[in-house]
């Protein structure tokens, strides 16, 4: 058996594993407030408007249960059943990724983390940086794969591909960027110094032009913001004389003996008539506006050539191996912050499936989940949720309403109605708090059976979601049961 096949082999929880203790959920779980591990990894979705009690009653209670896992008594019960085959308490302590846009969860994380390391990622703070190509050396990846991975995270590219009638411009822009990366990677395989030389000499050539002097400082190889040099060069190429910066760049490339097949598309672009060239350039500008943004580069490194320095790097593999906690605090409303969140998520799931040691559970707990949903083939929730439960990986999605999830997914390539349905169907545990969203109400009406007596109204018509009090919710559980219950907050 190959190593890859071995690491991809699932390693699910069994009913014998220690159960999770969710405090305050007595009405739902019974007096002991215990939740089977097998049910915990069938994922949660909590919906409800602001002030409905969703965070305090659902998300924080689950997070607390995850961080305290395994607790003493359930673990002792497990050891009694499993005997010598029992997994150690330490090895069962979950690794957790928390996305906390409203900064409500972090305090709880710090309080319950125990001996775990808590790593905080936030723009404007000196936190760790995710290396998007962690675990892949320069020799293991090719430029096509690099750009493919990056473009799936770019809102501009993905939405344009999904919605525009002429995605050819966008596609061309992606290919142009791929060529820039390919040239850098080809030079980097000789030495990093060659990449520096390329960009430094391009800057020097352009320096002779008076108009663009103020921007030229950005045209240099910057390991911390890899795409900034490219973004500046492309930006300068949008004008009527835009072929000139490209020509300067290509001149330097030629002197560095870069193979012709890597530069062919760039040469063609430089020679195109302005109105045609600017179509591709504007698209590339759009993509680079996201991925070369300062806010993005402060949290995620897209540099395929070299990783951030070890002391600044977030090592996802280590976090999963050691059971640490990562808290990502995105800024209030920023598409770049959402993109960062999606990149971090996608990296954690990649490693969750591939890690050698699958005993340790992993939980992804995300507030305002609609901001971070994706519908990609590999890293989209509709693909992950079904597979990951067999890898002891649980997901907790907290969102304002199903309409907001639907809105986000409709703009994703491959997203839309079916992706939403798959996500909802895969969240075996669903908690519906007070909301006036019609879509959420309709969805719940379909999931709860009709009354057992004919000609009686459906429970949702009698007790609609708008009528629920704070901390009260409809709960549908992975075991098929459902009910309306009130969470009693501890203390």
């Amino acid at each position: 058996m190959t190593n890859s096949a071995r690491t991809q082999r699932p390693f699910p929880f069994t009913e014998a594993h220690p159960r999770f203790h969710v405090e305050g959920w007595g009405e739902l779980l019974g007096q002991e407030e215990l939740f089977y591990a097998t049910d915990m990894v069938r994922h949660f979705i909590a919906t409800g408007e602001t002030g409905s009690g969703k965070s305090a009653s659902a998300v924080m209670r689950i997070l607390e249960a995850v961080l305290r896992y395994p607790e003493k008594e359930p673990y002792q019960d497990y050891v009694r059943v499993a005997g010598r085959a029992a997994e150690s308490k330490e090895s069962l302590r979950p690794a957790v990724l928390v996305v906390d846009p409203k900064q409500e969860l972090e305090e709880l994380v710090v309080k319950e983390a125990g001996r775990r390391k808590v790593l905080r990622i936030a723009y404007g703070e000196a936190g760790p940086i995710l290396h998007y190509f962690e675990g892949r050396s320069l020799d293991e990846i090719d430029p096509f794969e690099v750009m493919e991975l990056i473009l799936t995270q770019s809102d501009f590219y993905v939405q344009d591909q999904a919605n525009t009638r002429e995605p050819v411009w966008n596609k061309q822009a992606g290919l142009i960027l791929q060529d820039f990366v390919a040239i850098d990677m080809w030079l980097a395989r000789q030495s990093i110094g060659r990449v520096r030389e390329l960009w430094d000499r391009t800057r020097e050539l352009l320096d002779k032009e008076e108009e663009s002097k103020s921007l030229l400082a950005n045209i240099r190889y910057d390991p911390a913001n890899y795409f900034r040099a490219m973004a500046t060069l492309i930006g300068l190429s949008a004008t009527q004389e835009g072929s000139m910066p490209l020509a300067c760049y290509l001149d330097v490339v030629q002197t560095l003996n870069v193979p012709g097949e890597l530069t062919m598309r760039l040469v063609t672009l430089a020679t195109l008539y302005h109105s045609t060239r600017s179509g591709v350039i504007w698209m590339a500008n759009g993509i680079l506006a996201d991925i070369a943004a300062e806010e993005f580069a402060a949290c995620v490194s897209l540099n395929p050539i070299e990783p951030p320095p070890a002391e600044k790097r977030l090592c996802v593999k280590d976090v999963l191996d050691k059971g640490d906690v990562v808290v990502y605090v995105p800024s209030a409303v920023s598409p770049i912050a959402d993109m960062v969140g999606r990149c971090i998520k996608s990296k954690f799931f990649e490693f969750a499936f591939q890690r050698e040691n699958k005993v340790r559970p992993f939980f992804y707990i995300v507030d305002e989940a609609h901001r971070f949903l994706t519908a990609g083939e590999q890293d989209g929730e509709q693909s992950l949720l079904d597979r990951c439960r067999a890898f002891r990986t649980g997901v907790v999605l907290s969102t304002q309403s199903i309409a907001s999830m639907s809105y986000r997914l409709e703009s994703s390539a491959g997203g839309g109605y079916n992706a939403l349905q798959i996500i909802l169907n895969n969240c075996g545990n669903a908690l519906y708090f007070r909301t006036s969203d019609i879509q959420t109400q309709n969805h719940l009406r379909q999931r709860i059976p009709d009354p057992p007596v004919p000609n009686r109204p459906h429970v949702i018509n009698v007790r609609p979601l708008t009528s629920l009090s704070v901390g009260s919710c409809y709960a549908l559980r992975a075991n098929g049961s459902w009910g309306l219950f009130q969470v009693h907050l501890p203390g």
């Binding site: 009354p451 109204p457 009698v462």
Partner: protein, 193 residues
């Protein structure tokens, strides 16, 4: 139709009118199960306006209502409306403690347990004797359960023997009492306007 339900968002109410017999007993049990299990209500109001009825039906109802009477995660608010007699009065008193009420003008009658027979039914002497014994057993059981139930009222230091004698005397008197007197006797908790 002697059972009518009003489905309110927060608290539903069932209005029980007419004589209490086995069909009505089952209809009430089904309705309460539907409200609790499907509509997920934990508080149900039962409004009663009934001349009473069969001891057999009452016996069955009291067994079903036990968790409601005890208030095990649920509350049965009983409310006497107008005429609340015999089995209906006992039913009223088996509401969750602290939630048994009656209107000021309602008349309540607590008397001996009776058995109603279908029209034209006849019984032999031995059958009548057995029926009599059964009624006595039920009456004793109702009294015991009622005293235990009322004795659970917090802060109420009930002398069970004295209270039993008081109730037995009331049953024998065959007289209507008003809501206030029922309240004084501990058979309901409050008179409501």
């Amino acid at each position: 139709m002697s059972i009518t339900t009003l489905l309110d968002v927060k608290r539903p109410s069932i209005r029980l009118t007419g004589p209490i017999d086995m069909p009505l007993c089952y209809a009430l049990i089904d309705e309460m199960k539907l409200l609790h299990d499907y509509y997920q209500y934990r508080i149900i109001e039962l409004e009663i306006d009934s001349p009473g009825g069969d001891g057999d039906a009452l016996h069955h109802l009291v067994q079903f209502l036990a968790p409601w009477s005890r208030g095990d995660g649920r509350i049965l608010k009983t409310k006497g409306l107008n005429e609340v007699c015999s089995a209906a009065a006992i039913l009223l008193s088996f509401g969750t403690l602290g939630h048994r009420t009656a209107l000021p003008h309602s008349r309540l009658l607590y008397h001996h347990v009776r058995r109603t027979f279908p029209n034209g039914a006849s019984q032999t002497v031995s059958e009548l004797r057995a029926t009599g014994n059964r009624l006595e057993t039920w009456e004793k059981a109702f009294l015991d359960q009622l005293i235990t139930h009322i004795g659970r009222l917090p802060g109420k230091d009930l002398n069970k023997d004295a209270y039993c004698k008081k109730l037995t005397r009331l049953l024998a008197q065959e007289r209507d009492i008003d809501a206030k007197e029922a309240c004084d006797l501990g058979l309901i908790d409050r008179v409501v306007p």
